[in-house]
Symmetry: C2
Subunit: 563 residues, 2 copies
C-alpha cells in the first residue's frame, strides 16, 4: 500500500537512509538563506509574514474556546502582541482520538509521505520561521534561520528516516510453514499491522522550539501517532506556524487535520502540563527543558514513553595545544554563540594549575585563562558585529543568573550590556568568564549555570581534569565534552572519560567546527547515557517504541509437499 | 574487529537475520528430543545429570557467602533438595562492575559470538535442562524439553539477532566532509563506540524460567551488558545450569565470568528484589510475573529500563464454525496444555446466548458449551495420557484458586485430581470449565484466574463478544485472542478488536496449531500495546535501548578538492 506523497519524496528518503548508514555529511535543506535557493523575495516575504503575525490573533482552524492566550515578548525588546486561540486540553485529546482511526489505518507509507510533505512546506517557510525563532528565542537572525529552519528540518527528517528504517523491516504478511515429518506441514498466513501508540505530547522549549521540538513531533507522526504540540509560553509562534502547515498538508491529503493540534498557553502553565501529561490517552511525551520538569515527567508519568532532554554540564579539558590562539578563538566562539544559551555550550574549562605544554613552549594557567578571556573580549569588542553572534538573552532569569554567578570567583571576562544597533530594547550581554578551583568550588561547577556563564577551573593535572569530566557527565549530565591535547595517550584517556561519562567527545577543535554544533545524520545529539538526556537525536531507540505490531494468523494450504 | 566465536556462528546469524525479515518458519534447534539429533544417550545422560543435582549443593564458581539457599519442590511430588551458594547482591553488583570494562571493550562481534556459543552449549544440555524445567515448573517432559529447551533457545537467538540487526547499523567510523563554497571543506573523522547500559537484572518466573528468562538475558549479553540472573525461588535449577554454561563459555573466551552471575534465593525474596532493582548500577530489568510486582517495577524503578510481562485475560470469540468438533478439540487442548499455566492460555470463551451457526445448522449456547466441556473431558479421560498433556500444578496457590473459582458459576467440566502413574505425589488437576454471563459476571471474568480455570461466557451477540474482547485486552491486558467465524465481516471486526485491544489474533484454529503457541522469528509474543506486557519478544524496541552510542570527532584532511 503506497501513497502519492511517499512516492513524491521517496528519493529524499533513500538518500537519508544512506546518510544514516554512512553518517557522512548530507542535507537536503540549504542552510544558506540564499535568494538563489529560497527565491529572490524569500527574505522580504518571510519578514513580512512574520510582521503580519504581530499584534493580532493567529488563525488556526482547530477546536478552540472563544478565548485567546499569548504573552510572547521578543528578547530584542518588544512584545509580539500575538494572541492564539485558547484550546481546552480535553477537547484536543478527544479530537486527536477521533482523528486517530483513519490516520492509523492509512499505514506507514502514508505517515512517512505526509511527514515529508509537511517538512518540504516548512522548508519553504524557513524565513518566516527564522524571524519567528529570532523574536522568541533571542537568536540572531542567521542562527535563527539556520538552527530554527534547515537544521531543525534536518533533525526532523532524521527522525522520519529512522522511523522508516524500522517500519520497513516489518513485513505486511508472511507464509509460515512448519514441517511435520511424514504428515502435511502446518501452514499459516500471518498479517502484521503496525499500530501507533496513540497520542503524543510535544513539550517545546524557549531557546530552540523547532530544533528540539521537531524530532519528537516528526517521530510521532512518522509512526502513525496523533500529536498535541504544547510550545513553551515564551516561544509559541515558530511551532504555531509549524502546526498550521502540518494541518494544511493533512487536510489536503484527506486526513482529519486534528492529527496535529496546538496547545498554546499563557506563562506558568506547569499545572496544566502535569495534568495533561498524565492523561491515559497520552502515550508519548517529548520534552526539552529543565531537569526539574523533565525528572518529574520521568518519575510520574507511567502511561507514556517519556523522552527528555534536560540540563547538563558541558566541559572542556585543556591538556596541551599546538597553538593556544586558535584553540582560544574556537572556545571563545562557542561561549559567545547565542550567549551560551545552547544546551551544547561549554561551561567548565579545566586547565592544570601548573600550566600546559604548547608547540611554543610551556604556558602558565593564567596565560591560558587570559588567552580565552582575551579571545572572548575580542569577539565582542565591536557591538554591531557582536550582536550578530550573541543574539539576545531569552529571559530575565538568565540575566539574574549572570549577576548571581559574578560572585562565584575571580572575573576573567566581565559580562557587559551592549546596545543593539537595530533594536533599542534588546537584552544583550557578553559572556561572563570566571576562574574557579577544582579543590574548593565543586559545589558550584557541578551544576548547570544556563546562559553566558563559564568557568576556567584550575586542576591538579589533566588526569584530574578527565576524572572530573567523566564523573560530572555521568552524575550531572552533559551533551558535549571537548579535549585539547597533542598527546595520543591523553586523547585515549579522554575517550575513556567520554565513555564513562556517556558523552560525545570533540577533539582539538581549532577551526570552523564548534563543540556546540551537532550535525544531523552524522552526530548523535545526546547519548541517552547520562542524565542530560534519556534519548539521542536520533537513533533506533528514539523511534522503535513509538509503534507496536499486532499480528493475526490463519491456516492456509501448505506450499511444500511432504516427502 | 571480529571475534572467532562470531565467525564460528556467523552462518546461523545470517539465517536468523533472514528469518526475522521474512518471518516464515525457521529454527536451528531441533524441537524433537530425538537420539539422531541429540545423541543416542542424550536422554539418559540428561536425566542422570538432572538426578546428580538432587540433594546436594550446586557448584558455581562465583562470589558467594559461606551459606546456601534453595527450597525447590517438584510439582511431581518430591523436594529437589538442591542447595545453591548464597550470594550477596552487593558483591554480585561489584563483580559485575569489575567484569564490565573488558566485556564492554570487546565490542559487538564478541558479545554476539559469545552469546551464540553459550546458546549452542545450552542446546547440547537440552535434556538436562528439560528435566530441570519439568521438576520445577510441573510441565510434562515433552513440553519441558521443547518449551524449556529448543523453543527457549529460539527466543534467545531471536533476541541476539535483533540486537545484531541494530548494532550492525552503527558504523565504527565515518568521514564527514561539509562543503564551504570556495573555501576548503570542513572534514572530520568520527568514531562511534557502542556502549552497553551497565548491569541487567533478569527476574525469572516459576512456569517458564528459560523461555521467559532467556530473551532478556541474551538481549543484555548481546548488547554488552553484564547480567545478574535472579530466578524465581521455585524454579532456580534451569537458570542455574544456564548461568554455569554461560560462565564456562565466558571464561574459555578470556572474559571475567562474572559478566553473568546467579542470585539464588529462598522463597519470599520480595524485599531483596525491590532493593536490588533500585540500585543505581542496575540499568536494565527483565521481569516475568505478577501484575502487582511488574507494576511496582514500572512505577518505582527510575534508573533502569524495565521490560515486563504480567498477567492478562486471554479470550476466544466463537461466532460461527464449520465444524464444532474440531474447534472444540482445539480449544480443549489449549485449556489442558500444562493445565492452563501458560501466559497465553485462553480463559474467557464468548458464545452468543442465542447460539451459533455451523455448516450443519444452528447450535445452541448449551450445545457449544457442552462440546467444549466434552472435548476437555475426553482429553483427560485416560490419566496416563492426560498427565503427559496436563503436567502438574506448579504450586498450591493454583489449586486453591481452582477451589475458589468453582463457586463462580455453573460447572461445565469439573476439575479433578488425577493419579500420576510415575510420580505418586504429583499435583495433577484437570481443567475447570464454568459458565458465566456477560450481563452479570464481569467483575470475575475481567481478571486473570491463572491456572486450569476458564469460562464459557454467554453474550448478547458476537458484536458484544468482540467489544468485550477488545476492551478487556486494552484495559486488563492479554497475550492472545482467538476467533472462530465463517463470516468475513466478523473476521474483519475481530481484526479491529485485536487492534483496539493491542493483542495478537488467531483465526479458526482447528488443527495442529494452538492459540497458546508462539513461534520465534515469526510470532511476536506480546505486543507491548496492552497491560499484559510493555514489550514484545522480540523486536527492535526490545533491544534498541539496551545500548547507547558514544561518538568522538576530530578534524582530518578533506578528501574532496574545492571547485
Amino acid at each position: 500500500m503506497t501513497h502519492p506523497l511517499f512516492t513524491k519524496h521517496e528519493d529524499t528518503l533513500q538518500k537519508a537512509l544512506a546518510a544514516i548508514e554512512t553518517r557522512g555529511y548530507w542535507s537536503p535543506f540549504s542552510e544558506m538563506p540564499s535568494p538563489k535557493v529560497y527565491g529572490e523575495t524569500a527574505n522580504a516575504d518571510g519578514e513580512a509574514a512574520f510582521k503580519f503575525h504581530l499584534n493580532r490573533t493567529f488563525e488556526l482552524d482547530q477546536p478552540a474556546t472563544q478565548e485567546t492566550v499569548g504573552a510572547e515578548v521578543s528578547p530584542f525588546g518588544f512584545p509580539l502582541g500575538i494572541r492564539y486561540p485558547k484550546a481546552d486540553a480535553n477537547t484536543l485529546i478527544d479530537a486527536a482520538t477521533r482523528a486517530q482511526r483513519d490516520w492509523r489505518a492509512a499505514g506507514p507509507r502514508a505517515w512517512i509521505g505526509v511527514s515529508l510533505e509537511i517538512l518540504s512546506r516548512i522548508n519553504r517557510a524557513s524565513f518566516e520561521i527564522g524571524y519567528a525563532v529570532m523574536h522568541t528565542t533571542g537568536q540572531a537572525f542567521m542562527m535563527a534561520f539556520q538552527a530554527g529552519g534547515p537544521h531543525a528540518q534536518d533533525r526532523a527528517l532524521e527522525a522520519v528516516v529512522y522511523a522508516w528504517d524500522q517500519l520497513r523491516r516489518i513485513p505486511a504478511d508472511a507464509h509460515w510453514e512448519k514441517p511435520q515429518g511424514k504428515n502435511p506441514p502446518l501452514a499459516m498466513r500471518k498479517r502484521y499491522t503496525v499500530v501507533p501508540r496513540g497520542t503524543g505530547l510535544v513539550l517545546g522549549c524557549c531557546t530552540f522550539p523547532t530544533w528540539n521540538g521537531y524530532p519528537g513531533l516528526f517521530a510521532d507522526l512518522a509512526t502513525g501517532n496523533t500529536v498535541i504540540v504544547k510550545p513553551h509560553p515564551g516561544a509559541i509562534l515558530p511551532l504555531a506556524i509549524t502546526v498550521r502547515i502540518a494541518r494544511e498538508v493533512l487536510r489536503e491529503a484527506g486526513f482529519d487535520p486534528n492529527v496535529v493540534t496546538l496547545l498554546a498557553t499563557d506563562p506558568n502553565d506547569g499545572a496544566l502540563v502535569q495534568e495533561l501529561a498524565q492523561r491515559p490517552e497520552i502515550k508519548l511525551i517529548d520534552f526539552t527543558g529543565s531537569s526539574q520538569n523533565g525528572t518529574w515527567l520521568e518519575r510520574n508519568v507511567h502511561q507514556a514513553q517519556v523522552f527528555t532532554e534536560k540540563a547538563g554540564v558541558n566541559q572542556i579539558v585543556i591538556d596541551s595545544v599546538d597553538d593556544i590562539k586558535s584553540a582560544a578563538r574556537n572556545i571563545a566562539f562557542s561561549l559567545a554563540l547565542y550567549s551560551g544559551q545552547m544546551c551544547t555550550a561549554p561551561q567548565n574549562i579545566y586547565v592544570p594549575r601548573d600550566g600546559i605544554r604548547t608547540a611554543e613552549g610551556p604556558l602558565s594557567f593564567d596565560a591560558v585563562a587570559g588567552a580565552i578571556a582575551g579571545a572572548v573580549q575580542k569577539l565582542v569588542a565591536d557591538p554591531a558585529r557582536a550582536v550578530e553572534l550573541l543574539g539576545a538573552i531569552q529571559n530575565e532569569g538568565i540575566t539574574q543568573r549572570i549577576d548571581e554567578a559574578r560572585k562565584l570567583g575571580r572575573v576573567l571576562a566581565e559580562s557587559q550590556s551592549l546596545e543593539h544597533p537595530a533594536f533599542a530594547g534588546a537584552r544583550v550581554r557578553t559572556p561572563l568568564l570566571l576562574q574557579l578551583d577544582a579543590a574548593s568550588d565543586a559545589a558550584q561547577f557541578t551544576r548547570e549555570w544556563f546562559g553566558p556563564i563559564s568557568f576556567v577551573i584550575a586542576t591538579d593535572s589533566t588526569a584530574q581534569s578527565l576524572d572530573l569530566a567523566g564523573a560530572i557527565a555521568a552524575e550531572h549530565g552533559a551533551l558535549t565534552l571537548s579535549v585539547y591535547s597533542i598527546d595520543d595517550i591523553v586523547l585515549e584517556a579522554a575517550h575513556e572519560a567520554s565513555i564513562r561519562g556517556g558523552v560525545a567527545l570533540s577533539i582539538n577543535l581549532t577551526g570552523g567546527v564548534f563543540v556546540n554544533q551537532s550535525a544531523a545524520f552524522s552526530d548523535f545529539h545526546g547519548t541517552g547515557a547520562n542524565p542530560a538526556a534519556n534519548a539521542a537525536l536520533a537513533d533506533a531507540a528514539f523511534v522503535a517504541n513509538r509503534f507496536r505490531v499486532i499480528q493475526s494468523r490463519v491456516h492456509v494450504e501448505p506450499k511444500a509437499v511432504p516427502a
